[in-house]
């Protein structure tokens, strides 16, 4: 996609030129949340971003607290830099690029809100739409549906289903509006988990063995063209835990093997270390007494002034608190090892904090702000 230098200046620093962001990760790592946060971050400078869901879970609707999404592109959120807690302009110099704005047909002028649209793809609908496009089936399409044909067609070849899903994302990435400009500045796809990701994205290989000719084959070729281009980046979400990290490392290796463009590592639910191992070790030694004294002086002994009473109140707390500190430092050590494994990937890495009260809409904007501040968008 040709881009003027002015446009380039306000694109994201790390994923310059990427229009299709595929977000995957091990189940339970929060990939839907981070896909949504990335979409918000990408839209924050006034762009228009489409967030796509492919697994029919209605996770996006859940996240944004809206009714289940139909199979159509729907505006679900607006976002400004201010909402993400960012200064009004993206740094000095970038400002000059903004005045040219309007590539998405409005909303590109300084400080204007960006928009996030969402689409929950329904496989059956997508196949019918596809058939309609190529064969003008009309009512015959309904008949096929009734016969269980659609179910059959997507069942016999999971690759076919994937072609339809990825094809929709690629189509949206290249779609132009009536004004000849691209409809969306970026597409973010909440993809299947890492375990099924390569199979999902590598549609060409999947359908090659089945549909060697015909429109599905042609479609697969076109989709692969987009997916393997520098316009696409596949990001993986992980936690600082052993299995997700292992899956992330393996996932990137698989992506590289099939030559799909590797994106960044999104480390989710990071907790700041409160105490490190050295501090905890120190508590076991000479400091135990002193810590007990400090806890007493912090007011844990209640109102009593008598050292014995204070001590009696503090003593039962001491061991549990120390045990918690040991667990904490053990976790910090494990996280350090996981972080080192991730660093060996030598990929842009973003750390997102654990949100204490779970992810609500406010939390989502906060995560988006983090992603933007760290250069992911």
């Amino acid at each position: 996609m040709a881009r003027t230098p002015g446009q380039a200046a306000r694109r994201d620093p790390d994923w310059e030129g990427v229009r299709l962001h595929v977000v995957s990760g091990k189940g339970g790592t929060g990939k839907t949340t981070l896909a949504a946060a990335l979409a918000l971050a990408l839209a924050a400078d006034g762009g228009r971003v489409l967030l796509i869901e492919v697994e029919g879970r209605q996770g996006i609707a859940e996240l944004f607290g809206i009714a289940a999404l139909p199979y159509e592109e729907r505006r679900i959120a607006s976002v400004t830099r201010a909402q993400l807690g960012l200064p009004a302009e993206p740094g000095d110099g970038a400002d000059s690029g903004r005045t040219g704005g309007g590539r998405t047909g409005g909303g590109r002028t300084g400080g204007a809100a960006g928009e996030v649209f969402a689409l929950a793809i329904d496989t059956e609908q997508a196949l019918l739409e596809y058939l309609e496009m190529f064969y003008k089936l009309g009512r015959a399409g309904k008949a096929l549906q009734k016969m269980g044909f659609i179910d059959f067609a997507t069942t016999i070849a999971p690759g076919v289903r994937d072609v339809l899903l990825t094809g929709k994302a690629c189509e949206a990435a290249r779609r132009k509006g009536p004004d000849g400009r691209l409809r969306y500045d970026a597409i973010v796809m909440d993809a299947p988990p890492t375990g099924r990701l390569t199979r999902f994205l590598n549609v060409n290989a999947e359908v090659a063995g089945l549909a060697r000719i015909g429109p599905i084959h042609t479609q697969a070729q076109a989709v692969m063209g987009v997916l393997k281009s520098p316009e696409t980046a596949v990001h993986l979400v992980t936690l600082l835990e052993e299995m997700p990290v292992q899956e992330t490392v393996d996932g990137f290796a698989e992506l590289r093997e099939v030559k799909l463009p590797v994106g960044g590592v999104l480390v989710n639910m990071v907790r700041p270390p409160v105490l490190d191992a050295a501090a905890v070790a120190a508590v076991h030694g000479d400091h135990r007494e002193e810590v007990a004294v400090a806890l007493g002086e912090a007011g844990l002994g209640g109102r009593s002034r008598s050292p014995e009473t204070v001590r009696a109140a503090v003593e039962p707390l001491l061991d549990p608190l120390l045990a918690q500190a040991r667990e904490h430092s053990e976790r910090v050590e494990l996280e350090r090892a996981q972080r080192a494994d991730l660093q060996r990937l030598r990929l842009p890495t973003y750390e997102l904090p654990l949100l204490g009260e779970g992810v609500d809409l406010g939390g989502l904007y906060r995560l988006a702000g983090e992603l933007k501040r760290q250069g992911a968008a």
Binding site: L137, H287, L317
Partner: protein, 400 residues
């Protein structure tokens, strides 16, 4: 992780106040319990739970086998599952009278076994070489679920074990695994595939014109979309598989019945988080609707504390007092440590409060579902000691 640093911290706090406790030991000690199915959404520790239950059952005298679907590498190694040969292997290091075997599901191989069991070698070879079969056996959404159930059926009819513990595939939705076997069964046995098979049976595509218009449209549509080659592959496949049709459906039905039979118990596995418990709730509803025997809920990664008397608020206030006013009689290093301990405790209490609220919401809707909580461990489990530790927590005799 072994016992160190994974102290159960007493545990006499409010988390256990409501709901019935799931008696895991009673369940696994009961000789009438023959199958335990561990289900739940991805990432909640299903595999670890299944392995821990298998080990505990074996060490309490059962002859148990654990069928895992996709275990973490080190967990698999800890059970001696270094090669994927689709048959149970004895797990070394198990103490006591019982025995533990474990296996990892190989879905393609299981599918091959089904084909081999039902057809002549020559025909089996034809089927297995068919590209359509290859796609189906490796990639059909639901093949893994079907094959897990197929394997369960095989293990059960081999009757070599008195307890089978099954892990379920990391499905998109926990319910998939109940539905998928049936879906594959009806797919292979269904109307559409029979329609497709018909022209091949009556001697090639010329027969098409004798069939109804819908059929012509149907195969025509298929041919257009996938190319004629695929259609031919499918038809060859169906012809070759002819003797097996009905078999698939029947097998799916049989395993489904097995799941409902006395002696089967479902454990829904979750963590005290909103999404996981919502999936668990779906599962509980579904099991009830299908009259499948739910034993209870295993709630993994629950946080606990040995100092429940110290609230998050007081703990934080004390930390702030220390940080602002310092302490007269201790060193700055000790002050900093004490403040850190207090902040950690506040964090822990907040997590516990959140978990309790999430859990209580579940309990208020499902007051009759027995629950067992397993304390959060700082790291992953990858040896038998770690599994034993989890087993102790499940059985309720965790060190305190």
């Amino acid at each position: 992780m072994t016992g160190s640093g994974t102290k159960a911290n007493g545990g006499g706090n409010g988390m256990r106040g409501t709901g019935k406790r799931l008696a895991v030991d009673a369940l696994i000690d009961d000789p009438k319990t023959r199958i335990i199915v561990c289900c739940g959404s991805g990432g909640v520790g299903k595999t670890t739970t299944a392995a821990a239950i298998g080990l505990r059952a074996a060490e309490r005298g059962r002859k148990a086998v654990v069928l895992t679907i996709d275990p973490a590498r080190r967990l698999a190694q800890s059970m001696g599952l270094t090669e994927l040969d689709n048959t149970p292997r004895v797990v070394k290091g198990v103490t006591g009278e019982g025995e533990l075997q474990a296996m990892m599901l190989d879905m393609k191989r299981t599918f091959d076994e089904v084909v081999l069991a039902h057809s002549e070698p020559e025909r089996a070879r034809m089927i297995m070489e068919n590209p359509f079969y290859q796609s189906l056996s490796a990639g059909f959404a639901g093949t893994q679920e079907y094959m897990a159930m197929e394997k369960l059926g095989q293990l059960r009819s081999a009757d070599e074990w008195d307890l089978i513990v099954v892990d379920t595939p990391p499905s998109r939705s926990a319910l998939d695994f109940l539905d998928a076997p049936n879906r594959l069964g009806s797919f292979l046995d269904g109307r559409v595939i029979r329609l497709l098979a018909a022209p091949a049976k009556v001697g090639g595509r010329s027969a098409l014109k004798f069939l109804n218009a819908g059929m012509g449209l149907f195969t025509g549509g298929l041919g257009k979309i996938f190319g004629a080659q695929l259609l031919t592959d499918v038809q060859t496949f169906i012809t070759a598989m002819d003797s097996m049709f009905g078999g698939f459906r029947e097998r799916a039905d049989r395993t489904y019945r097995l799941l409902k039979a006395p002696g089967t118990a479902f454990l829904v596995v979750a963590v005290p988080e909103r999404d996981a418990l919502r999936e668990a709730a779906y599962f509980v509803d579904r099991l009830a609707a299908d009259r499948m025997p739910l034993a209870g809920l295993v709630l993994n990664r629950v946080h606990d504390t040995g100092a429940p008397q110290l609230t998050a608020e007081r703990s934080l206030a004390a930390a702030e007092t220390l940080e602002e006013n310092g302490s007269e009689h201790s060193s700055p290093a000790a002050e900093l440590l004490a403040a850190g301990l207090l902040r950690l405790h506040a964090e822990r209490m907040q997590i516990m409060g959140r978990e309790r609220r999430t859990r209580d919401r579940f309990v208020s809707v499902y007051p009759d579902v027995p629950i067992v909580e397993v304390a959060a461990l700082p790291g992953d489990v990858h040896d038998l000691d770690g599994l034993r530790d989890i087993g102790d927590r499940l059985g309720g005799s965790a060190p305190s």
